[in-house]
């Protein structure tokens, strides 16, 4: 009986695979076909929308010349610096304000005022303060990534289960242990969620900041290509931005599952 079952299983594997490819690939493939049809039928000028083939060629071109990698690297280094700083500040301040109602009350007004300002609106000031290249960009990234991290950490601490806090009270768990073993792990799902959102924001901020000024980075490459009327390179750069952003999120997702082993994830209906 077991062998029969195994046979059935391997027979089912290929159709199942095709099924997934079909579900996931249907939309992108039709999109590509539509794109190809629009651009090759001569209805749209190549400078407004190059064909997918040309974008692919531009991707190969910028990759083999090393330009794409160079600009991506510059942007990634900025993101890492800004994100690290934001994570440090966001987790630190989030913890402090989450644990101290007094600090929270004191800081709330300032936070509510600063939060709605889009990070990119800080750019003029940031350029004045930190110069047009690295400094201002790292500042904008830090600002962009800080708020989601900070607010999630704060939320994570506030939602700590009261029953669990009561257990700590009843058994007189000393406060360093309470913070380390109760508060921190309890808020960890929120912290990681905040880091994920923050990293996404950081990546968006670096591109925005580079589009607005400077001479390097993936955002600069887009603006430069536009100036040279190389729309294919603009699109190739955009694809790269998307791919890098998704990869970073994957990395954090993996990290999330690694450290939050005790939690069972809901996979949908």
């Amino acid at each position: 009986m077991a062998t029969v079952l195994r046979g059935e299983h391997s027979e089912n594997r290929l159709p199942a695979m095709l099924d997934t490819i079909g579900k996931k690939g249907l939309l992108p493939i039709s999109f590509l076909l539509l794109w190809h049809w629009i651009t090759t039928s001569g209805r749209v000028k190549q400078i407004l929308l190059p064909s997918p083939e040309n974008v692919f060629l531009a991707l190969i071109e910028t990759l083999s010349s090393g330009e794409l990698v160079h600009h991506l690297e510059t942007s990634l280094v900025r993101v890492m610096e800004g994100f690290a700083l934001a994570a440090f500040l966001g987790i630190g301040l989030g913890m402090a304000l989450g644990l101290s109602p007094l600090l929270n009350q004191m800081a709330e007004g300032v936070i509510q005022l600063l939060r709605p300002i889009p990070p990119i609106a800080w750019l003029p000031l940031a350029i004045l303060w930190f110069g047009i290249e690295e400094g201002s960009k790292v500042f904008i990234i830090t600002l962009g990534a800080f708020f989601p991290i900070f607010l999630n950490v704060l939320q994570g601490i506030k939602q700590t289960n009261e029953n669990v806090v009561e257990v700590a009270r009843v058994f007189k768990v000393p406060w360093p242990k309470f913070i380390l073993k109760v508060i921190v792990p309890g808020s960890m799902p929120f912290v990681v969620a905040g880091l994920r959102i923050g990293l996404g924001y950081a990546w968006m901020c670096v591109v925005a900041a580079e589009l607005s000024g400077g001479m390097s980075g993936i955002g600069y490459m887009l603006m430069d290509s536009r100036a040279l009327a190389r729309t294919d390179r603009v699109l190739a750069g955009m694809l790269a931005i998307g791919a890098v952003g998704k990869s970073m999120d994957y990395l954090l997702q993996w990290f999330e599952r690694k450290i939050i082993r005790w939690r069972r994830f809901y996979n949908g209906i």
């Binding site: 669990v164 058994f171 768990v173 792990p185 309890g186 960890m188 082993r261 005790w262 939690r263």
Partner: protein, 259 residues
């Protein structure tokens, strides 16, 4: 009536826990609600006392006062003559839900609450409590990997690990299935005998109270007052079908159903 005797306080030396004239009031939308009315009773060392009463009569509130989690009440609650001010390690508590920390393993949950100065034999000490509740081999399991009964065993180990003089239990087996509940009742008797501890358990299960208690404090419904204190003089191991057992059970049943 032979089994039901009003106890003469003081015949067993100094009580461990003493409540005198305890009142608890809640104010809800300006309306005063009395939860506990004039409760007085004593628990003696090594006694197994059950508090039996209908749901929502304030049994949990009473236990929380003794645990030190409800500072706002009137009357006197003393432990070994000392008034209770807040939670303390000489009282261990098992809640209705296990309340284990989901991100800590069995061992880590016990480690979290263990107060012991010498670090050397902490692990061994923890292990002895895991063993006491019959969970050897599950030290590294997370609460989500345990059944309800197993999780409650860990909660019992956690309540006992600091060697409290009084173990408070708030309907600890209420959420378990019938069979597991019977097994846990036997287990708690075994642990009670082995640890030589004093237990005060809240329950709404008449049979559970008769099976476990040396003394049953019967509470009436809102506001909770003491209806009577019943001494259960059935020798252990008690059988649930022996005439004496059934008689006590029937009497308690009649008493509670009068309301």
């Amino acid at each position: 009536m032979a089994a039901l005797l009003q106890r003469d306080i003081g015949s067993r030396g100094a009580p461990l826990l003493c409540l005198s004239n305890v009142f608890k009031k809640y104010v809800n939308n300006g309306q005063e609600l009395i939860a506990l009315q004039d409760l007085s009773f004593s628990v003696f060392p090594r006694e197994f006392v059950c508090i039996l009463g209908p749901s929502g009569c304030g049994k949990t509130t009473l236990l929380r006062i003794i645990a030190g989690l409800e500072p706002d009440y009137q009357g006197m609650v003393t432990l070994e003559g000392e008034p209770i001010r807040g939670p303390g390690l000489e009282r261990g508590i098992v809640f209705q839900e296990h309340r284990l920390l989901p991100w800590l393993t069995v061992n880590e949950n016990l480690e979290l609450v263990l107060h012991k100065s010498n670090n050397g034999d902490r692990r061994e000490f923890i292990h002895s409590y895991v063993e006491l509740v019959g969970l050897s081999g599950f030290e590294d399991a997370y609460p989500s990997q345990l059944s309800g009964g197993m999780a409650q065993r860990v909660a019992i180990a956690r309540a006992l690990i600091n060697k409290p003089r009084l173990l408070l239990m708030d309907e600890p087996f209420g959420a378990l299935d019938a069979l597991t509940r019977l097994r846990m009742q036997q287990e708690i008797l075994r642990i009670w005998t082995k640890e030589k501890t004093t237990i005060l358990m809240v329950t709404h299960d008449i049979e559970e109270a008769v099976y476990l208690g040396d003394k049953i404090i019967v509470l009436s419904g809102r506001p909770a007052t003491i209806k009577r204190i019943v001494e259960v003089n059935i020798p252990r191991e008690r059988k649930r079908i022996e005439p004496q057992f059934l008689q006590v059970r029937q009497q308690l049943y009649n008493e509670l159903m009068q309301e």
